[in-house]
Symmetry: C2
Subunit: 361 residues, 2 copies
DNA sequence: TCGTCTTACTAAATCGTTTTAGTAGTATTT
DNA sequence: AAATACTACTAAAACGATTTAGTAAGACGA
């Protein structure tokens, strides 16, 4: 009776087409094809210690059958049983602003390495969407949440890691830039070039870095004896992710004749807008005004003039964030303490800053 | 015996802290608290037609209990039972190149609207990673795959939509730019400005648009009587996503003294690199050479000079792709036909192109 | 020879839902 | 007054894995 030995999968697959056709093979099918129980097959395929007593010969048969039938464990069933989804949720303000994407690339690399996937949800700086998306992610059974440049107000039963967030919440790990060093690098650089009067473009209200950035810059300025008058400070308005906001902010600054010799922009995007506004005002960068950006996005290097900027290690911040989130997931939620991890900025000198040539001002 | 009426959830929650503490409430818990069966609770909460015979009063009690206990159905259990994950997989070359992010923002918007989430996996143009990531996504039980600028070689039992892909595979829906129009817009624009000798920067070998882009440009050039010599064509080499590749390609072009008056770059990134190379070669854009980019990434507008470019509606391509993928998922896999959906490019005129002033060449 | 150990497995419970197939009890029809 | 239909539910199977708690058969020791 050789016919009877034919296994199920082969029988069900009438014409021998390529592998794209057949219905999914379950553990039960593999077990049936071997006349073993699902239990045995499961423990063997999972290298469970329970399989210690199973003879090697049987194990080999099981592995072979699994291969031949192209058995792929059903992730959903496994997740249900094990109460692990190996999935995390990522909250970002905006997909297409460059910043989030840079951080995400670090996040992705680390997560994939560890067998995790992630869901992304963007909230466009709207509080209600942050709340809603968080709930969606929790409903999807993510094991933790990574909040990129996104304010987090309540603590949660899920592990949370916040990247460039500025709320101190119990149990939330923060990945932040060393803002003191960043401000110091910028001010020191301009000071060395002979600038003593500096204008500043603040970030938008909603941007989590806005406040620290300004404060650290002001105290660094004081330390170096550099002058920053209140009316040399302007602010980005609105959530347009293009340089337009920086352009408008700088126009306003110029309109009341501020007399700084260098300008410190909130980020590279706004620095680019600022340069355009200055050029339209007849001021050449860096000859008349030096300008320094922040972040070091790709465009910074290839802008004309190439931007001097304070680089944030965005990709690294992403992978660090992912790493700590996974650590917290492993841990008992009770003993995850609030941690703050600081990464260091770099000063990248290019062509948008130069020696102060205004002997007068 | 009033004590006995206390329901489970209240009992288990010793001290009345905020909602962040309690363990998850299951359907069974809700049912038990009402002394009903899980069946009844399930049909009512799902508005199943089976609930028709349940009196309104009972329904109200059920809804109320669900609210009070803060019942959230377990997505995993539901997915297992219904064989639907409401999750799709997205393949991209690179997270941080701007292009993918722009498309993704359209994808995300559409998917979230329809209650779907997505997993992203990037492959950095490596065939083995494309293969591996696809398998990972399938193992995660995604309902379909969206391939962004990613070559797809085999058909699959899963619905696939390809955005800017160029393989025609049975059952795969393609979202593509109208490349003929794009080429025509570019050549026509340069022709109108008096340019008759045009250089071209081809894309990398691995980029799916490379071939069509060149072919459509060549035939448009022929149509308009514009000259493109073979040695005025250069190619991007390597997978550096920065303008460096465009810079190097253009250097090479200049090194053997090509005499074009306008240059058509593969994309905006390479156009930016090209401009730098030209400038270093003593050629001013657009006075000496006009240059036209492709894509219209954000940086294009704020570059100096602002780039004239052919805009691809990337976000729209993303949302169209997502839309069609969801449609194919609804359908019977047998009757999804190979479809090609074309989107239209726009010519965006800025400052990198100008009238041909080289009377001689 | 009885009891204990080891080997090589398996039955059944479980994760949290949805769905199929009932079942009492009452109301309506014939 | 029996047959039928409706109301208001429930028990149990199913989705596809993992894990707990066995069991039958043979080996070994006292």
């Amino acid at each position: 009776m050789p016919k009877k030995d034919k296994n199920k999968a082969q029988e069900s697959n009438g014409n021998a087409t390529d592998s794209s056709q057949q219905k999914n093979i379950s553990l039960k099918d593999v077990a049936a094809s071997l006349k073993l129980s699902p239990t045995t097959v499961s423990v063997v395929l999972n290298y469970s210690p329970l399989a210690d007593s199973i003879p090697q010969e049987t194990k080999d048969r099981i592995f072979e059958a699994a291969r031949n039938l192209n058995y792929r464990p059903n992730y959903i069933a496994r997740s249900l049983r094990n109460q692990r989804t190996h999935t995390i949720g990522v909250l970002i303000p905006e997909m297409s602003d460059g910043y989030s994407a840079a951080v995400l690339s670090g996040v992705e690399e680390k997560l994939l390495q560890e067998g995790y996937f992630y869901f992304v949800a963007s909230h466009h700086h709207r509080e209600d969407l942050i709340e809603r998306n968080t709930q969606f992610l929790v409903a999807r059974c993510v094991e933790g949440i990574l909040a990129i440049d996104t304010p987090i107000h309540h603590q949660s039963f899920l592990p949370i890691v916040s990247i460039s967030g500025h709320d101190r919440i119990k149990g939330v790990t923060n990945i932040v830039l060393n803002h003191e060093t960043a401000a110091q690098l910028a001010i020191e650089h301009l000071h060395k070039l002979g600038h003593r009067k500096i204008g500043v473009i603040k970030g938008q209200q909603f941007s989590s870095d806005t406040e620290v950035r300004l404060n650290t810059v002001l105290s660094a300025a004081q330390k170096y004896g550099v002058q920053i008058e209140n009316n040399w400070i302007t602010q980005l308005i609105g959530d347009d992710p293009s340089p337009e906001t920086g352009y408008l902010a700088t126009k306003k600054l110029l309109s009341h004749g501020a007399e700084f010799t260098a300008l410190l922009a909130f980020n590279d995007i706004s620095a680019i807008g600022a340069i355009r506004a200055l050029r339209e005002g007849g001021l050449i960068v860096p000859n008349d005004v030096s300008i320094i950006g922040f972040d070091d996005i790709t465009a910074a290097e290839y802008h004309n003039p190439a931007l001097t900027t304070i680089r944030q290690p965005l990709k690294k911040m992403g992978s660090l964030g992912a790493e700590h989130l996974l650590q917290n997931i492993q841990k008992n939620p009770a003993d995850t303490l609030s941690l703050e991890i600081t990464v260091e900025p770099d000063l990248i000198i290019r062509q948008s800053t130069a020696k102060n040539q205004n002997s007068e001002r």
